[in-house]
């Protein structure tokens, strides 16, 4: 009853309409009665009405005053509650400090992790109305793919142009592709991130330049003469000192001079979330100046999926409608170009999702969700501890509550008071938590891998983050405050008198609230620790995964001869000289040049065995290719299984040959001898003979299933992108600079990039796994400590409450062992229930994480067993200490007490 009344009052602030309606009716009736009276006194109706109004005064002012009487009261109560809460919290200083600090820890961790999730997953791209932007990808039902995640594949420029012409659902479609370009003309040639885009790119995104202009609509139509560039805000600020006169200046990119015509808006770095902030945009008509090698050769090939396409939906069109419409265009294109487009259609992804990577978005979300889940568990345990503290405090305040309730305070009023206290605690925790997050963010940022650079990710404590922290603070304040508050606000006078507030043992019947806390804390800690354990195992496994080559004493550097417009003859000579010079340096054992980075993937082409092609019903397989010089296998120490590796006798004019890995042999010729077999690429008659089979190496990502890979001689399949790899006899660091300058001396305009040991490179690849394991371990240990403190606290409290009972038992002859068993048994039983619940929860949840783990089952028995054992040991300890104290209760003192 009192609750409904109080709710009415609380609700009054939001129900002013109802109050107004009542008042209106009342005022009308008042005026009517006054008029009746005036009429009786002989006034005419007009006079009577005027007199009544005059006597009443200003009706709307009355309504205002009445309404504000309600609102004023509400705030008045709030301020009284707040003042009282502050007094209580200051009075219990120790309790408040513990509460605020543990909450701050929970909020701090949550906010830190949310900052990252916010920056990577939730930050909208800085473009106009991003929800109307959609990415278009090719999906291919015919070609076989061996890589995980290869579903959405980009689009060929030729197909893009047809889609753009025939499209009816987008206002327009734009295309882009990323390519590193060499910026020369300064002291040292350097590489910058380039985007090759259609001229409408910025218009479709709805952007306005900070200075200058974006591309004119026809600036992608004159091959080789649209020498205009737009640069990113960061590039303008860092390299041009934000000079307004940068517009009109010239940049030498891949040996072609471009005029800077515009500066992109601050924070815009293309349509991807994590990207270098220093960017330059050029138009597609300049492709022959920008690209070299296969990228130039195949640019207009209808099968070459090198472009990323996005469009802005017309008003009123949603993604499924657009997809249906585009699929009909795709089937037309499939019919029109059956050879290139067979089995190929189109799939749509919102650009906001695709910004993280159309194929990777789900995994990123899962990882982010898992981290938030882990810190959420820590927070929940911290809350459970606080609820326990509040319960203990509530027991001490039982008298106060009884008195206040006797003085007429309604139950809802008391509830509101207690909730005000817990919310105040929570908000104080949030304030300190934000400080921790500010600090934690810097620590996290300082551990980032070297490939994530300044400006790549914006880890700001923006309004999203602040709202998030405020949100969890309010929710948890209500959550951990509610249980004790409900319990306390209904003091049972009879019980209080009878038991003197004591005699609570732990156990379901005696004290369900506290028992529940023990069970919940144990269960949550188990879930957090299982997560941590799985990731530690996964990371250990990942460290020990054999990449298939020897990664120690190996370093690399990369350059692009295409940027300097070398022809193939000159480039081959350059490669030979570079290898010769590097090999001559003391400390160098072998040097080689390949097209791909180690573990860096590479160009994939569709492979068919001899006698098969796309017309025979055979499904070709997209296979990673790597063009290498003869010393490649010796340098990386990739073991030869059968046949031979390349030699200098493999030249352009000799038989085309290939060395393949075991995975490729097994994929195309299962159960057969692959040596001597021949294969060809899609739409290319040239047959290549398998002359050697080597062991598998990791092609793209540590932990992947063995991927087919074909090595081709650099002399027969030239690649202007080159990765120098050098095997050293001693520590690689000592010879890196000598090799670098010997390569640089061949051409001072060469931009040499990615100078690093292969060990560093592999470490970067495992960065996420390592960071994940470290963070989860930290969270797991925090969860364990908090839970142990919680269980210990509950039991200690219960021992204190049971002093009298224990004293009587002792006086009646119970031995220390009996008391120990009694008290510890109470706690352990609850802990065991918690462990069982936790195991069930962990089994249910960790399955979802399977895709993030390397070589560990999500229900790994060793992890589950180990974690259970650890928690059991900790629970034993947390129960033993208070139980031990119980055995030391002196029966005489305990009985006298009161």
């Amino acid at each position: 009853m009192s609750i409904t009344r109080s709710l009415t009052k609380l609700g009054a602030i939001f129900r002013t309409k109802e109050i107004d309606a009542t008042l209106d009716a009342e005022i009308r009736s008042h005026l009517d009665m006054e008029m009746d009276e005036n009429l009786e006194n002989g006034m005419d109706p007009d006079q009577a009405r005027h007199a009544a109004n005059r006597a009443f005064g200003n009706a709307s002012l009355v309504k205002d005053d009445s309404r504000s009487a309600w609102i004023y009261r509400w705030f008045d109560d709030l301020i009284k509650d707040l003042r009282f809460a502050v007094r209580m919290l200051i009075k219990n200083r120790g309790f408040s400090a513990v509460a605020v600090l543990s909450l701050a820890l929970g909020f701090g961790l949550n906010t830190t992790i949310f900052t990252v999730v916010n920056a990577v997953l939730l930050h909208p791209l800085p473009v106009r109305d991003v929800s109307r932007l959609v990415q278009l990808d090719t999906i291919d039902a015919k070609t076989k793919f061996t890589q995980a995640n290869a579903v959405k594949l980009g689009m060929s420029f030729a197909n893009f142009q047809d889609f753009r012409r025939q499209n009816e659902v987008f206002t327009d479609l734009a295309a882009w592709t990323a390519v590193p370009v060499t910026w020369s003309g300064g002291a040292e040639a350097r590489q910058v991130q380039g985007y090759v885009v259609t001229a409408n790119y910025f218009d479709v995104l709805g952007l306005n330049p900070v200075a200058g202009r974006f591309f004119f609509p026809d600036e992608d139509t004159k091959p080789n003469s649209n020498t205009v560039a737009v640069i990113s805000y960061a590039l303008w600020a860092n390299k041009f000192g934000s000079d307004p006169n940068a517009i009109g200046r010239t940049m030498n990119l891949n040996s072609t001079p471009y005029t800077i015509v515009g500066i992109a808006p601050h924070g815009f770095k293309g349509t991807i979330s994590i990207a270098n902030a220093e960017q330059v945009w050029l138009t597609t008509s300049m492709k022959d100046q920008i690209f070299s090698g296969f990228a130039a050769e195949f640019f207009n090939d209808r099968r070459f999926l090198n472009m990323t396409i996005f469009g802005r939906l017309k008003p009123g069109i949603n993604i499924p409608q657009a997809e249906a419409s585009l699929k009909t265009i795709a089937s037309r294109l499939e019919a029109e170009y059956p050879k290139d487009n067979a089995g190929r259609s189109v799939a749509l992804t919102s650009l906001a999702e695709a910004a993280v990577g159309a194929n990777e978005h789900d995994q990123f979300s899962l990882a982010g969700g898992m981290m938030l889940g882990a810190v959420g568990l820590v927070l929940l345990i911290a809350c459970a501890n606080l609820a326990n503290l509040l319960l203990a405090q509530a027991a001490r305040r039982e008298k106060e509550m009884t008195v206040r309730s006797a003085l007429g305070a309604g139950r809802a009023r008391l509830l509101r008071q207690l909730l005000t206290e817990s919310t105040l605690l929570s908000l104080a925790g949030a304030a300190v938590g934000l400080l921790i997050a500010y600090w934690g963010r810097s620590i996290l940022w300082s551990y980032r891998p070297s490939f994530i650079q300044q400006n790549d990710v914006d880890l700001s404590l923006d309004s999203h983050v602040l709202l998030f922290t405020l949100g969890i603070a309010l929710v948890t304040g209500a959550l951990f405050g509610a249980i004790p508050a409900i319990k306390t606000s209904s003091p049972n006078l009879a019980d209080t008198l009878k038991a003197g507030g004591r005699g609570n043992s732990v156990g379901w019947r005696a004290n369900p609230a506290r028992s529940l806390l023990v069970v919940v804390e144990t269960a949550l800690a188990l879930v957090a620790l299982v997560g941590a354990g799985l990731f530690i195992r996964s990371q250990q496994n990942a460290q020990h995964i054999d990449p298939g080559f020897e990664s120690e004493k190996l370093f690399m550097m990369a350059f692009d001869l295409g940027a300097l417009h070398y022809n193939e003859g000159k480039a081959q000579q350059f490669f030979r000289s570079a290898v010769e010079r590097a090999s001559a340096i003391p400390g160098v054992q072998f040097a080689t040049i390949s097209a791909n980075f180690p573990i860096g993937g590479g160009l994939g082409r569709t492979v068919f065995p001899e006698g098969q092609d796309e017309t025979t019903g055979y499904r070709g397989t997209l296979t990673t290719l790597n063009s290498v010089t003869p010393t490649f296998f010796d340098t990386l120490r990739i073991p030869l299984v059968r046949g031979r590796v390349f030699t200098d006798t493999d030249r352009k004019d000799t038989q085309s040959v290939a060395v393949i890995n075991e995975a490729m042999a097994k994929h195309f010729w299962p159960g057969e001898e692959a040596l001597g077999k021949r294969f060809h690429f899609f739409d290319e008659p040239k047959l290549r003979e398998v002359v050697g089979i080597v062991k598998n190496t990791v092609v793209q990502q540590i932990g992947e299933d063995p991927q087919p890979e074909a090595y081709l001689p650099m002399t027969q399949d030239y690649s202007p992108f080159a990765t120098v790899q050098v095997r050293t006899t001693g520590r690689p660091e000592s010879v890196i600079s000598a090799v670098r300058s010997s390569v640089q001396s061949l051409d001072p305009n060469l931009a040499i990039t990615n100078v690093q040991t292969v060990h560093e490179l592999m470490d970067q690849g495992l960065w996420a796994a390592r960071m994940g394991a470290a963070l989860l371990t930290l969270f797991g240990v925090l969860a364990l400590v908090l839970a142990a403190v919680g269980v210990y606290g509950v039991l200690s409290y219960s021992v204190n409450q049971q002093r009298q009972e224990i004293g009587i038992r002792r006086a009646l002859g119970a031995q220390a062992g009996d008391v120990l068993r009694l008290v510890a048994g109470q706690g352990l039983r609850l802990a065991l229930v918690g462990l069982a619940v936790g195991l069930a929860l962990a089994f249910a949840f960790t399955r979802a994480l399977a895709s993030l783990l390397y070589n560990v089952s999500a229900t790994d028995p060793a992890t589950f067993g180990g974690v259970t054992a650890i928690l059991l040991a900790v629970a034993l300890l947390a129960c033993y200490i208070p139980a031990r104290r119980a055995t030391q209760v002196d029966p005489l003192t305990a009985l006298r007490y009161d």
């Binding site: 009716a25 009736s29 200003n58 009445s66």
Partner: protein, 121 residues
């Protein structure tokens, strides 16, 4: 709202006093707003200037303190009206306020009628 000319013979009632007066008028049973206004005007011999409207915010305040409750009913002239009645807490409040008021007015009266006190030098 333009300020109204003051009538020097009629007094304005302070908020706390108005509350006391309203509680007092309800002592013998439920009344609606109009009746309360008339009662105050008549019993004070028109000394108190009371704008009828000013009763209503005061009534809201008393409702919130739960000194009075309200219910819709029918007036003697058969008009729908909201009737206010005292609660038990309101009755207690009335007697407490009443004795406070008496002490207050006695004290004021004593001060106003006291002979001139001897001043310290």
């Amino acid at each position: 709202m333009a300020p109204k000319p003051r009538d020097p013979d009629r007094l304005e009632i302070m908020q706390g006093t108005l509350d006391l007066i309203i509680l007092r008028t309800l002592r013998w049973g439920p009344l609606h707003g109009h009746a309360i206004a008339k009662f105050i005007e008549q019993t004070s011999g028109d000394t108190f200037k009371i704008e009828h409207g000013s009763l209503y915010p005061a009534l809201q305040r008393l409702l919130q303190e739960r000194w009075i409750t309200a219910a819709w009913g029918t007036s003697t002239k058969n008009r729908k009206a909201r009737f206010y009645s005292l609660t038990a807490a309101g009755r207690k409040q009335l007697s407490a306020e009443h004795s406070r008021w008496e002490r207050f007015s006695e004290a004021v009266a004593r001060i106003l009628t006291a002979p001139r006190a001897e001043e310290d030098v």
